[in-house]
Amino acid sequence: MTFDIRSFVGPVSDALRTMGGVKPAVTAPAGPVPIPVFADVSSSLVLRGVRDVTMVLTMTERAAVCLAERVGLPSDEINEAMVGDLAGELLNVICGSLQKVEKFSFAFGLPATATGKHHEVEPLRGGFGERLVSRSNEGDLELFIVDGVA
């Protein structure tokens, strides 16, 4: 049975576009994840199936705040805990879009989130996968689709 994480790119991009309001681009063909990766807000989630896949969402602080505003969160209530929660829930919804992808079913883990200015994103230490990037004046957002559990 063959399995190609590139099949995730389409539905994940669509979900990011509709939910996150960003237009991500695949920066390069699937390859080694460039490490280390730093972010202000990050979340990761493992999908377990015939093959395991790790999904990791990273954002700059500006991207996280813009995203929070985009989903209608009151500006005066946006704080570090809330953007961490948002990163986790957004990743959940993005992964939800994969339920109809491929012929494999996945067991979804719970998202793990991290906040902190310029923290190193631990789940991305090593790994091989796809990288979707959105860079704009509303901050940087990246989504990594990594083959295996990092």
């Binding site: 979900a15 989903v71 929660d85």
Partner: protein, 122 residues
């Protein structure tokens, strides 16, 4: 048509609302929100929605409690429970209490939209 979103997480309420907006639901539906179970009951008592999206784990009366109260009052409002709880016994408990449908997280936009189409058909 009126949809009530009940979840103690402002983030989750916002994500569901944005999801519905993306499908153009906002144009045809009136979306309301409740932050806990009691607030949900108060809202429904004043203005009965056509569909309720309900989280299980909420303060001040959880989702299951909301369902039981509504059904004991004779309410037939369609209720779709959204939760990360995957225990089959709890799913059974929710169905026995009168939940109309059940979505396990992670939810997808398509799943939400399909539930709306399914449960708001006239």
């Amino acid at each position: 048509m009126k949809i009530l979103i009940c979840d103690d997480s402002a983030v989750m309420r916002g994500i569901i609302r944005r999801t519905l907006d993306q499908y153009g639901v906002n144009a045809d539906f009136e979306l309301s929100e409740a932050k806990d179970g009691q607030q949900a009951l108060d809202h429904i008592a004043k203005d009965v929605p056509d569909l309720v999206f309900l989280d299980w784990n909420m303060p001040n009366l959880d989702g299951l409690g909301v369902v039981k109260r509504l059904r004991s009052q004779g309410s037939k409002v369609p209720i779709v429970m959204i939760t990360s709880v995957s225990d089959p016994e709890r799913v059974y408990e929710a169905c026995e209490a009168g939940v109309t449908d059940y979505i396990e997280k992670p939810v997808s936009q398509i799943m939400l939209w399909e539930r709306i189409k399914e449960h708001t058909r006239s």
